[in-house]
Symmetry: C2
Subunit: 166 residues, 2 copies
DNA sequence: GTTTTACTTGTTATATCATAACAAAATTCT
DNA sequence: AGAATTTTGTTATGATATAACAAGTAAAAC
């Protein structure tokens, strides 16, 4: 399974990455008095294992294979919990869910989404955030949440295919 | 910074605003050899009349009331056309559609969405766009489209309700 | 350590958003 | 008019998400 993680631009050990995310998640939940139950924990792992945004029903199918309940509320409850805890993000333009790489630091999830390979890179630019907050404030608007989803071609796909489709 | 936004929080004559959008739309379609048929034109008007994001099925219901066909493809085809022509935007985080205030100028649709009153302001900040393009490029990413949806409290609602809901 | 409480999960049903596939009609081109 | 293209009608289904209520489980209070 180490092969399909064609995910990000930088090589890394995907298992380490999942383990780290999970132990961060556990620490955060304990700290906040939240319960990372079996299904929530497994959902988070599965999202990380895909390492690209996973649809709710894809996730549900994986959970069902492992003996969890297979009705939609199961997966949406897990997703709600993980979203609320800041452990995952929803990519609105894809209706899909992605592990949050910086759950421990307060941050905004900004995404670069490749149209060809559908990999997603999360990035976190404080200066853009600051500019958005300030510009919203000029219109009297108090910012609470940001959905920043940029699509285009990642470095690899830009080189490969000019007109081809995935 | 001038006040580039320009539509929602400022008083304006809504009818003028719709008429202007429609005549821009007509001009653009002719220019591009596209056909702004009855249903497309009426869909665009209805979206503008709501002046806040309209769901596909809400729009479908309105069209059906006026004697248009009431099957979903009717409305999705109209929406696809209008999106393709740049006459409307889709607000991904709401699954809803909004008239584009600057259809004639190439631009990115950035939105401020109020959590309380659900009004949406479109804004267009060239400097943020430039920063995003540049930062994406640093990661080898070639930007094609941007989904920038900021939620929070608009000026009116910030004053009114601190904890109340709409 | 049992009761009470809060939280979590199971279950059924349904709401909401969107597209596939193919037929019919209208428009445009020659 | 005839052919080609585009648009619309129609039926069916896929994909995403939530409501409502019952049952179970863990934590807190006693």
């Amino acid at each position: 399974m180490k092969h399909e993680d064609a995910h990000q631009h930088v090589h890394h050990n995907h298992n380490d990455c999942i383990e780290s995310a999970l132990s961060t998640a556990e620490a955060l939940c304990i700290q906040q008095g939240q319960r990372l139950t079996k299904v929530r924990r497994r959902a988070l792992e599965l999202i990380w294992e895909s390492h690209r945004p996973l649809g709710a029903y894809q996730l549900l199918a994986k959970l069902a294979e492992e003996g969890f309940n297979s009705a939609p509320p199961t997966v949406y409850r897990a997703l709600d919990f993980l979203l609320g805890a800041g452990l995952i993000h929803k990519v609105e333009s894809m209706n899909a869910y992605l592990g949050c790489a910086h759950a421990d630091k307060a941050h905004k999830g900004y995404f670069l989404i490749c149209d060809e390979c559908h990999n997603v890179m999360e990035f976190d630019y404080q200066d853009i955030h600051a500019a958005l907050v300030e510009k919203a404030a000029r219109q009297g608007f108090e910012l609470r949440a940001e959905t920043i989803e940029l699509t285009g071609l990642c470095e690899k796909c830009k080189g490969k295919s000019v007109g081809a489709s995935a």
